[in-house]
């Protein structure tokens, strides 16, 4: 399949310094056909091996547009490997990954570079650049991709800081990552991922290592990004409480395949043994289903 058309290539090209981010802005440049498709990413039968280790064994998965899609699974099941495939950071041994209808597997580096403009990624520990302050970190994608004036960049950075509840932190613009709290780092990481108005946001285990209050804050952050910026969210997680709090759709990766996919309520009723074990261990078992089901619907 040929590379995308020019209108698709730069869906997020900055416009006159207006800090976008309203729902719908991020998909403004897409081809109508792709934008109307409720499934933004289709993964079909991907296999991936590392030496003797067969990590992904024919994964089939649909990522719904504008929704919070969460992939759960135990440690070492290949969740992070799957996520890296979505951005083309890894290539599968076989199978297809269709992003807005385009197969990204045969793409070369230049085409993948264009594709990655559709994506933003929030890393487990934010992965902020130590040598750069908050403004430089957030502005990094803009500086690297476009020739914008300093004023334009600052306008967009400040708007994001305000919208992500970071503007009130005194002197945050000039702070370095080492001076920020864990939660602030995650928000700055999110701001960096959002600054170029991506269509798809990937979160790699965003609540790992956080206390319950911080976990709740990160959940709110993901909900806010999804609601306010209209992005498709893909979250890799093994935090079941958090997953059932925010997910629109949950898929479980088990033994290199997607074992089950559904809404939180559907998954609570599922009888798949590995999933039940996950749910029961998280204290969301059968006995709690009546109570858990209503709260399992996404809070919007």
């Amino acid at each position: 399949m040929p590379p995308s058309t020019s209108s698709e290539k730069r869906p997020n090209a900055p416009t006159a310094g207006k800090s976008g981010g309203r729902s719908g802005d991020t998909t403004g440049g897409q081809a109508d056909g792709a934008a109307s498709d409720p499934v933004q990413i289709r993964i079909r039968g991907i296999n991936k091996t590392f030496g003797p280790q067969h990590v992904l064994r024919g994964v089939d998965l649909d990522i719904d547009r504008g929704k919070i899609n969460i992939v759960i699974g135990g440690s070492g099941q290949g969740k992070s490997v799957l996520m890296k495939h979505l951005m083309g950071l890894l290539k599968p041994d076989s199978g297809q990954i269709l992003v807005d209808g385009e197969d990204i597997v045969p793409m070369n580096d230049r085409q993948l570079g264009e594709l990655r403009r559709k994506f933003g990624m929030v890393f487990q520990y934010a992965a902020l650049f130590d040598s750069q302050n908050v403004v430089e970190n957030i502005a990094f994608p803009l500086i690297e991709r476009y020739h914008l004036s300093r004023e334009e960049i600052m306008t967009r950075v400040r708007d994001l800081l305000k919208r992500l509840d970071l503007a009130h932190v005194g002197g945050i613009e000039q702070k370095f990552p080492a001076e920020l709290s864990g939660g602030q780092r995650k928000r700055v990481g999110l701001a960096r991922a959002l600054i170029d108005r991506p269509q798809i946001l990937l979160y790699d285990e965003p609540t790992t290592g956080l206390d319950p209050v911080a976990t709740k804050n990160v959940d709110d952050m993901i909900l806010q990004a999804s609601r306010d910026f209209g992005v498709t969210s893909v979250v890799i997680s093994h935090d079941m409480a958090s997953t059932f709090r925010i997910a629109d759709k949950i898929s479980m990766l088990y033994d290199g395949k997607i074992l089950v996919t559904g809404t939180p309520a559907e998954l609570l009723r599922s009888q798949h043994a590995p999933l039940r074990e996950f749910i029961d261990m998280a204290g969301l078992g059968h006995g709690d289903e009546d109570q858990a089901t209503p709260s399992a619907e996404p809070r919007r």
Binding site: L89, E114, R116, R117, F119, F123, A127, D130, P141, E144
Partner: protein, 276 residues
């Protein structure tokens, strides 16, 4: 269920033994191959847009300006101690006025390039390995890739190029300061005649000696930065592995400098024959 059996046929055993014997060779070739590829990629990315001048200047500042105090300190005492030992030896023959020429030549050809490279390996090389290693384990390098920024172009190329540019400059600084140390020691502590010191220095040394030192130091710059970048860039694990990578970077960089020095001296002697 089928029982797993171990194939003990002579052919299989011979293959296993052959594999074991070949493993070190494979490892050594892999090591040099990886370094060569990294160097090739670093230069290939130098020619491709975007050109981030700021990154090159930052690295030049780190490798060069940042190393200046240690280079001045080591250079001064290396020159002085070199003069001290040379005078001790030449005194036996009553030829101590040759000290300027001897120290000047040894600084230009060997001491300045090698000592500067070792100092920069210890200071800047270890810094590079630690920084890149930390960036690797905290996923900062992965983050670069997600922004469609090539990590080799962004991280490796500026460090290698900056080292190649700054090493000859720092070597020249070492030469000047070293000679100054030798001058002070010889003239003020050993009462060597100033005229003789300067005359024999000018008579025996030649710009081509400094050119040889400059060529050596540029190659050392490439080697030490490559060793540091390779170790840092390929860290897997946590803080402990970053520490180990830093140690390996300093050891590999220092060994590379000393081994290359031998071969470069031999090679450069062919291009710059001794003047009779």
């Amino acid at each position: 269920m089928a029982e797993a059996s171990i194939d003990t046929t002579p052919r299989r055993r011979a293959l296993a033994i052959g594999g074991l014997l070949a493993a070190p060779a494979r490892s050594i070739f892999g090591f040099f191959g990886d370094h060569t590829l990294m160097l090739f990629h670093a230069f290939a990315w130098l020619l491709r847009r975007p050109f981030r001048l700021r990154l090159f200047l930052e690295q030049m500042e780190f490798v060069g300006v940042g190393s200046l105090p240690i280079i001045i300190l080591v250079g001064f005492f290396s020159g002085a101690v070199s003069a001290q030992q040379t005078i001790r030896a030449l005194e036996i023959f009553g030829q101590e006025h040759y000290v300027g020429a001897t120290v000047g030549l040894s600084l230009a050809l060997e001491l300045a390039p090698v000592f500067t490279a070792l100092m920069i390996t210890a200071r800047a090389g270890s810094g590079m390995a630690t920084e890149l290693g930390s960036m690797r384990i905290t996923e900062q390098i992965d983050a670069l890739t997600t922004f469609a920024v090539n990590p080799t172009q962004y991280l490796i190329t500026p460090r290698v190029v900056a080292s190649i540019i700054m090493m000859p400059i720092m070597t020249m600084v070492f030469n000047i300061i070293g000679l100054f140390g030798a001058y002070l020691y010889s003239i003020y502590l050993k009462q060597i005649d100033v005229g003789a010191f300067l005359y024999y220095f000018r008579y025996m040394t030649d710009p081509s000696d400094y050119l040889q030192g400059g060529v050596k130091s540029a190659v050392f710059g490439a080697a030490l930065s490559l060793a540091a970048c390779y170790q840092g860039f390929n860290v897997r694990g946590g803080a402990k592995e970053v520490g180990l990578a830093t140690t390996r970077a300093v050891v590999a960089g220092s060994v590379a400098v000393l081994v290359l020095d031998y071969f470069l001296s031999d090679m450069l002697a062919t291009f710059f024959p001794y003047r009779s």
